[in-house]
Symmetry: C2
Subunit: 324 residues, 2 copies
Amino acid sequence: MMAPQKRILVTGASGFLGRHALAPLLRRGFEVHAVSSKPINGLGPAQAQAQVHWHQADLLQAGQAQAVMESVRPTHALHLAWYAEHGKFWKSPLNLDWVCATLSLLKAFGEAGGKRFVGAGSCAEYAWSGQDRYDENDPLRPGTLYGAAKASAFLSGAAYARTANLEFAWGRVFHLFGPHEAPGRIIPALIRAHLGNEKLDCSQGTQLRDFLPASAIADAFADICDSGGSGGSEKGGGGDSGVQGAVNIGSGEAVTLRALSEMIAVKIGQKADIRFGAFQDTGPAKLLPAVRRLHQEVGWRPPISLDAGLAEAIEWWRTQGMRP
Amino acid sequence: MMAPQKRILVTGASGFLGRHALAPLLRRGFEVHAVSSKPINGLGPAQAQAQVHWHQADLLQAGQAQAVMESVRPTHALHLAWYAEHGKFWKSPLNLDWVCATLSLLKAFGEAGGKRFVGAGSCAEYAWSGQDRYDENDPLRPGTLYGAAKASAFLSGAAYARTANLEFAWGRVFHLFGPHEAPGRIIPALIRAHLGNEKLDCSQGTQLRDFLPASAIADAFADICDSGGSGGSEKGGGGDSGVQGAVNIGSGEAVTLRALSEMIAVKIGQKADIRFGAFQDTGPAKLLPAVRRLHQEVGWRPPISLDAGLAEAIEWWRTQGMRP
């Protein structure tokens, strides 16, 4: 029997996370349609791979989500697009526009015959109350505009999907890193400091976090998209409905920023002067996901270790001209 | 010293709740601007009172919120507009449009120099978990699209307001009734059955609810708008910032539907055959607000008893041709 066709539309497909999602989706048997707001001929070779169908659309412009959904008519959607500029995304009013763009996209997806919609949420939706690990059912008490906007898109999106008979899943991203990351974020800052043997002022460094390479998170999203998928998938069930609702994305491991810095220094073979405690981090001491849903219900495990992910990121910064 | 001018824009001003909000706002010294999507010359005499400035705008149309905000430049906003058609509002996709319209309105309000924004939330934002009373800090776990959309507007609205230095309050409406109510809702159905001596199939009737007349709820909203208000207000402080965040709106009293039916029958002097238990209500056994914030922080108390509110509603149905 022929597997039913799985056609997925990926938004934010040229972004930090999205660029890594295309290959894992192709491997799971999806026909992949990628949306970017950037001109398609401006995309690098990794993104322009022949098997991916590219569409240019600005989801913040009225009508563009509808147009691309009607033209592609996907069975699945992976919605990764959002405003994410380092240092600005927490408080930007663009977060409000992305709530509306997400809800418009979901509605257009349903109206164009879609079945399963997966969006990208965030650990910033939770309360940051200092508890050990956040479970998907813990209260949503976002302390930031970014977290509130993500929680809003989740609540309204999930409720709309129930009324419209769509499957809806929401992968809550905790901490990620990798090539192409903004240089001011913590892991690039540590890598660049150790590579350049520069001094770096840091927060206390004792905070526990669950870091995954962006490529691993994108792989988890591909599994969430394919959850309940047909025989065309690698893990395929029999076309049952997939895991729905919020799913935390994490390795299940916890690491302090100090330990991360050590791992990076050991790999590089050179240790910079990292001044932990130079300022106070505003985040909680622990910000860790409970990963039972992802690891057991979705059946995902990290395809790459933290160590190997760090090696990749270091290598990428070396190619950018950073040398020890 | 002259009190600083308080100019308020009221949305949904010709609606079930909004029509009652204008007089209490005028009494508190506001210059009142009322927005309705309906043609202004179609409004009845109660709405067309000379002191209120009417504006026609459809807040679901792009740009109309901005235009009316720029033209009025209010210091305060009371946002009551939402899709509310009886029997349809719980699941309507229009709830998504109202999330976006609310966020656009708030943004336009801030950009036009506004200071204090008050919106209408709902008990449907809470979990309906069967607890005794819902406190404003209880988790938001809406079970319906309407509740999810209201919770989304609250979360994103409150977070945006913090970044934009606006005051933001959100009155969570529990149960309301009054003249002009849809005939199929519970209190009109009971009044009409008793007036007409008709049989009526009802749910179990033991559910505990906190009912207020729409005019009382509108009065509470006027107090929330005026919280922290200047000397121009009845209760005026000295221009301090007002109560912010979610504020449950209720009398603090609880009544079963059976007791309500008895009160109505006694007032009418005629008792219809109300068949309690004919079907099962899907709501929780108790759905009651904790009212400490409203009664103590805002300082509001119901200006009219449940009994007097019921008498008003019965009288209104009599004028509609319903006679015992």
